[in-house]
């Protein structure tokens, strides 16, 4: 199978079309605030109520989402339901439009309600997107404490101190 062309706006538009309540988090959210560390996957925090999980399940079907594994980068087909989606805290998926990670409770947060509180709404390339605040992105990366997070945190903190990442 040919590798998917990366089109994050298509992934986010599909989630929005299905009414999935979710917040864009992680490295791509940081990029929108001016982070120079570009990534080629998107991290999304969905709300974990059953109704939203049902919408998410439908959206994932439209995206032909598969479980990414190192041994099968094209992804393994998986049958999902609202219950099975909610039973796993992190899903690493590959879709028709690139890689999508779903995390119900990012490190240092209480999940969707927590990060949605200060999220900002943007329309990007036609896609409605709720983007986590830079402070929440930093909070999560601090709590995760991975080497890759430690590398980017000084820059993100500096951006937050300068102007919060507001574009000029």
């Amino acid at each position: 199978m040919a590798a998917a062309e990366f089109a994050p706006e298509r992934i986010l538009a599909t989630l929005h079309a299905h009414g999935v309540r979710c917040v864009l988090m992680g490295g791509f959210a940081a990029v929108l605030y001016g982070s120079p560390f570009v990534t080629t996957d998107i991290d999304v925090v969905p709300a974990s109520d059953q109704e939203n999980l049902a919408r998410l399940s439908e959206a994932l079907r439209d995206l032909h989402a598969r479980v990414w594994t190192a041994s099968e980068p094209d992804g393994l087909p998986f049958d999902h339901s609202p219950t099975s989606l909610g039973a796993v805290r992190v899903w690493n998926l590959t879709t028709d439009y690139g890689r999508l990670d779903l995390t119900f409770e990012p490190s240092g947060t209480q999940g969707y309600d927590d990060v949605a509180r200060d999220a900002i709404h943007l329309v990007i390339l036609g896609a409605d997107v709720n983007v986590a605040s830079l402070a929440d992105v930093i909070r999560s990366k601090e709590a995760a404490g991975r080497d890759k997070d430690r590398l980017v945190l000084p820059t993100l903190r500096r951006i937050a101190e300068e102007d919060g990442g507001a574009p000029r």
Partner: protein
């Protein structure tokens, strides 16, 4: 990473020859060469001493494994050069549009 590779990396970073390192620790150039080649596997304490002799410190760190970046690299390795460029161009296009949208909010 083997002890020998750590010793070689430290020695090269310090700009030392095998003979110079050997002299610092009271051994022979051939003994250092055997360690670096992996013919002799030094103890952990010996590796720490050899690294210290270069003027560097070996600081072990225990970390949780993190495969997320590597998983993206695995994807990239399967792509042609053109496809790799396209993938990043798509990411940047989205990022640029996102910045424009943010600017539009005032």
């Amino acid at each position: 990473m083997s002890g020998g590779r750590i010793v070689r990396e430290a020695r090269r970073r310090a700009g030392l020859s095998q003979a110079q390192l050997a002299e610092r620790v009271g051994t022979t150039q051939s003994a250092i060469a055997r360690i670096e080649r992996g013919t002799t596997e030094p103890s952990f304490a010996r590796v720490v001493d050899l690294v210290a002799a270069t003027g560097l410190s070996l600081v072990p760190q225990m970390l949780e494994p993190d495969g997320s970046d590597w998983s993206l690299a695995v994807d990239n390795l399967r792509l042609s050069l053109d496809a790799r460029v396209r993938r990043h161009r798509s990411a940047l296009r989205f990022a640029q549009a996102g910045r424009e949208a943010m600017r539009g909010r005032g």
